[in-house]
């Protein structure tokens, strides 16, 4: 179970103004502005839930994900994931989660995918039996049998993404964070990925938190939506709550952003 209570996080960013004169000034005196990425954010996610975390860019999504994965420490508030504070017991916490960064690869580029998997087995200290079972299951469900022996750089984006997702699930994490998992994928791959994630949630009761701009992903996968804007949770409900009339999901969300002025 994931609980966030009154979490706040601000950043100090150096202000950079345009123009040559400003650049010269910047050599001698740097101005700063404070960005409130998270402003009293609270929510609870129960085991086995599939949550869509949406909001415009700069709303605080990646800060939340970083805090939940233990990469970032909040300024104030409490965060508990399965009874642990993520940033305090990093190694113990991280053992139970899986993260897929859509735009960054975790596979070694020049060696066969299976070699990357073997290294992950050692990193996560997965037992031989568990590893074999996971690998069999993931290979079958994601259709990886021909891909495993190819180096990652020879795979298409869709093929690579399937391997990335498999890599994040080898150690059977209880919680899976997906950051733009279907970005750049063709329609067939997108459906395959969505289908697989749904199956994982059903069989293994994996909690899934999905951040994405692709509303079809949200529609097909999640039952609950958290809308974050300007550092605050503006909406915490289901898709049905926000749907009005026969508009497409994208139009609905655009309308939502307008309503909340984000």
């Amino acid at each position: 179970m994931i609980t966030m209570e009154h979490v706040c996080k601000s950043y100090r960013i150096a202000k950079r103004n345009a123009g040559f004169a400003e650049a010269c000034k910047a050599l001698f005196h740097r101005e700063h502005e404070i960005i409130h990425a998270l402003n009293d954010v609270s929510f609870t996610i129960h085991d086995g839930e599939m949550v869509g975390y949406i909001g415009p860019n700069g709303a605080g999504k990646s800060s939340t994900i970083k805090i939940l994965s233990g990469i970032l420490t909040p300024d104030s508030g409490t965060v508990l994931v399965d009874g642990r504070v993520p940033y305090k017991n990093r190694i113990d916490h991280v053992r139970e989660i899986g993260v897929v960064f859509g735009q960054r690869s975790q596979l070694w580029w020049d060696v066969p995918v299976i070699d990357s998997f073997a290294l992950l087995k050692d990193i996560y200290s997965i037992s031989d039996i568990c590893y074999r079972q996971s690998l069999e299951e993931l290979t079958e469900l994601l259709n990886l049998s021909e891909l495993l022996r190819s180096p990652a750089r020879q795979l298409s984006l869709g093929q690579r993404m399937r391997c990335e997702i498999a890599a994040s699930l080898l150690h059977r994490p209880r919680i899976l964070f997906l950051d733009e998992p279907t970005i750049g994928l063709d329609a067939v791959s997108k459906l395959a990925v969505r289908d697989f994630i749904l199956r994982q949630n059903q069989t293994h009761k994996t909690t899934v938190i999905l951040t994405t701009h692709d509303m079809q992903d949200i529609e097909s996968l999640t039952s609950r939506i958290l809308l974050i804007g300007k550092g605050q949770i503006l909406l915490d409900g289901s898709l049905d709550d926000i749907r009005t009339g026969n508009k497409s999901i994208d139009a609905t969300v655009a309308e939502l952003y307008r309503t909340y002025n984000i």
């Binding site: 994965s69 990469i71 990093r90 190694i91 960054r104 580029w109 060696v111 990193i123 996560y124």
Partner: protein, 261 residues
């Protein structure tokens, strides 16, 4: 131990990656060899003109240079991940490391294993052999131990400097090239026995950054200019330098976690 096995697994995957690009590997190794060969030629030609420098002969200087080169090449081979850490922070790769249930240091070490340094290692060994043959060093068990300690201490000190560089990357990604002065610079500076540069430099390099403890003083012991066994153990004492480096690194990681890159 499991950690060592995991590290060796990292090393093996690094080497396998490198083997995919055999020409590039070969060219890199040759390139590095050429660079340090130039340095050797510099020493060679200086000694065509001068018979000694502050009492150190050509073969003694070769001995000194080869040990420093070996120490540096070993440190670079193993700790290359720290040497190129700015790239890891810039690309967000360090976030990935924080999401894995292993010690960050182990992961950064494992991210790069630079086998191309083998070119320099070979050159160092050749020069060292030449230095031994030509110099009048009378070898004994204690002197061999001294040499071993020099290698260990030297690799530790240079690795510590890479740690410091990497730690600084957490605070700023620009303007860190001055750290080269302490790593590459030390290697260049260290091609001659450090005593020739004067008393003040020697003091700095004994107490602030312990270069003299891994090069000069044990060298004096090997060349029979000092006989106290104290000099033999000094390179191990130089390992103290790793403590502040490690603390700075840990501090840097904590700052990174609170500022989110």
């Amino acid at each position: 131990m499991k950690t060592i096995r995991l590290y060796l697994h990292y090393v093996s995957i690094n080497i396998r990656c490198m083997m995919q690009y055999k020409t590039s590997f070969l060219l890199s190794a040759i390139g590095q060899f050429l660079v340090s060969f130039n340095v050797f030629l510099g020493i060679f030609f200086m000694f065509q003109r001068f018979s000694n420098v502050e009492g150190f002969t050509y073969s003694e200087v070769l001995l000194c240079f080869s040990v420093v080169l070996l120490e540096f090449a070993l440190a670079e081979m193993v700790a290359r991940g720290f040497d190129t850490f700015s790239g890891m922070v810039r690309s967000g790769e360090f976030d990935r490391i924080l999401v894995r249930p292993q010690n960050e240091i182990l992961q950064v070490l494992g991210s790069k294993f630079e086998l191309t340094r083998i070119g320099r290692i070979l050159q160092a060994v050749v020069m060292f052999t030449y230095g031994i043959v030509k110099s009048n060093v009378v070898w004994s068990l204690s002197k061999i131990c001294t040499l071993l300690f020099m290698l260990i201490g030297g690799t530790v000190v240079f690795t510590a400097l890479f740690f410091i560089y990497a730690a600084l990357c957490f605070f700023t990604l620009e303007g860190l090239e001055f750290m080269n002065v302490f790593t590459d610079g030390a290697r260049e500076f260290g091609k001659y026995p450090l005593g020739i540069y004067g008393k003040k430099m020697l003091l700095f390099m004994t107490f602030v950054i312990p270069y003299a403890l891994i090069q000069y003083y044990p060298l004096l012991y090997i060349l029979d200019r000092r006989t106290s066994i104290f000099y033999m153990l000094l390179p191990l004492a130089a390992c103290w330098f790793f403590v502040p480096a490690l603390l700075l690194w840990k501090f840097g990681v904590r700052c990174y976690q609170s500022s989110g890159s």
